[in-house]
Symmetry: C2
Subunit: 243 residues, 2 copies
C-alpha cells in the first residue's frame, strides 16, 4: 500500500487566504509538519492535530520527518506559506522521497506572495512577469545577477522574494542597480510587508527610491515594466486594452 | 459614499481551488459579472445571485457593466479564473475606474494556473521563473519573442499561458525555437490541460518534443531550466538543497 504525503500551500497567512482544498486536506490529516512560523499561523485552527515544527535551514530533516510519520500510517501533510511550489517545500519533498516507491506526493497549490501582494498594490502583474529570489543561500549570486539583468532586458515586471536579510543588507540596492541598466529610475515600484498577517503594509514608490530603501525579509518587492503606472494610488500594468 | 467593486480570482476551476476569502466575498455579493465560461464554473454554487455574462474580447464592456451595477448600490464582483491579477481582470478594472472617485477596488487573489498546474506536474517552479503569454492580441509578437529569449538566457523556468489558438497554431513551435537557442532539447517540460476542470490531463515531455506538439488554448506549458529533472515521473526543479 502506498502512503500519500500532502504538500500544502496555506496562502499568505490569514486563514481566509487558504483554499477550500487546503483546508479540507489539513482537516483530514493526523499530523502536520512545518517551519515554526507557519505552524504558528495554523495552530489555533488545527490544535487537535499532531503539529510538528522544525527550525530554519532544517528543510531536509523536515521532509524526512514527514516520510517517517507517513510510514507510521499517519495521514501527514507538510506545509509552506503561500504556494508550496514557489520557493516552498514541494521540490525538496519530491527530492527526499525520490527513491521511495511506497510514497505518493500530492501538492495542493496555494496563493503565492506575488499574487497576494499584487492584489494589495493594485494589478502590477497583469502582464508577463518574473519571480526572482534575492537569497543566495541556495543559488549563486552570479546566477541571480544574470537573471535580474535578463528580466529587466526583457521588460518584464519583476517580483522579488527574500529581498533582504541582516547578512544581505545591500542586495536590494545591488538588484536595483542592475535593473536600472534597462529601466528608468521613475519606473513605479511597490513593497508589501507582512502580507495577510498582523502589521500588513503597502508602499508605492519608484525604482530610483527603492534603491535607497531598507526592507526586511518579510517584504515582497514589485518593480514595474516600461508600461506600469500609478492609477488612483494603485500600481497597475496595463495589458493593452483600449479603455 | 464610495462603492466597493470586488475583483475575484476563483482559482483553476473546481470549487475547492477557490480561497475561503473569495467564497465569502462572492456569497456577500448581489451581482457577479464575468466571461461566459467562468460564470458557468460558479453558477451552481451562486445561482441565487444576479449573474451577468459577456463574451470574449468584451473586457472593457464587462468592467463598465460592473461600474454601473455598483453605482446602482449593488455589491458587485467581477471574476477571473485563476488569479485576477495574472492576465485577469484586475488591471483593466483599475483602468476603467481610474477617473471614478466614487469607487474603491478590492482585488481578492486566487491560485493562478502556473501554481495549480505546477502542483499537478510536481514542483517545476520552485526556483526563479517567468510567466509569458504567447497571445499577441494585446502584446506585439516582437516583445514576446524578446521576452522568451531573455527568459531562456537567464536560465529561468518558463511557464507559458495561452500557448496556442486556431489562428496561432505555430506560436508554441516558434517559442520553443527561441528557447532552444539557450536550452538543450533534452530539457524536461510539461503540459497541463484543463487544470481543475473536467478532462484534466498532464503530460511530461522534453523541450525538443514539445516543439512538435499541438496544444490548445486550455493548456498551460512548463519548460524547465538547466537544473530541472524528472523524478518518479514528476517534473522537479531542485533548489539546491543537499539531500
Amino acid at each position: 500500500m502506498k502512503h500519500t504525503i500532502y504538500v500544502v500551500g496555506i496562502g499568505p497567512g490569514k486563514q481566509a487566504g487558504m483554499t477550500l482544498e487546503a483546508q479540507r486536506v489539513l482537516e483530514q490529516c493526523d499530523c502536520i509538519v512545518g517551519y515554526n512560523t507557519y505552524i504558528k499561523l495554523i495552530e489555533n485552527q488545527f490544535s487537535h492535530k499532531e503539529l510538528l515544527m522544525t527550525g530554519m535551514k532544517k528543510e531536509v530533516d523536515r521532509c524526512r520527518l514527514v516520510l517517517e510519520k507517513a510510514r507510521e500510517g499517519k495521514t501527514t501533510a507538510i506545509i509552506s506559506s503561500g504556494d508550496a511550489g514557489v520557493y516552498g517545500m514541494a521540490g525538496i519533498m519530491h527530492e527526499v522521497a525520490a527513491e521511495c516507491d511506497d510514497v505518493d506526493i500530492v501538492v495542493v497549490a496555494g496563493v503565492t506572495a506575488a499574487c497576494s501582494g499584487a492584489a494589495l498594490l493594485g494589478a502590477p502583474l497583469v502582464s508577463d512577469f518574473c519571480l526572482i529570489s534575492l537569497s543566495d543561500l541556495l543559488t549563486p549570486w552570479e546566477t541571480i545577477e544574470n537573471r535580474l539583468d535578463c528580466a529587466a532586458a526583457g521588460d518584464f515586471v519583476i517580483c522579488l522574494y527574500n529581498p533582504s536579510s541582516k547578512k544581505r543588507a545591500d542586495y536590494l540596492q545591488k538588484a536595483c542597480d542592475i535593473i536600472l541598466r534597462h529601466q528608468s529610475a521613475q519606473t513605479p515600484a511597490g513593497v508589501v510587508h507582512h502580507i495577510g498577517r498582523e502589521g500588513e503594509t503597502t508602499e508605492i514608490t519608484t525604482l530610483g527610491h527603492l534603491r535607497k530603501m531598507q526592507v526586511d525579509m518579510f517584504s515582497t518587492v514589485f518593480i514595474g515594466n516600461s508600461q506600469t503606472k500609478i492609477l488612483n494610488g494603485k500600481l497597475v500594468t496595463p495589458r493593452g486594452y483600449t479603455v
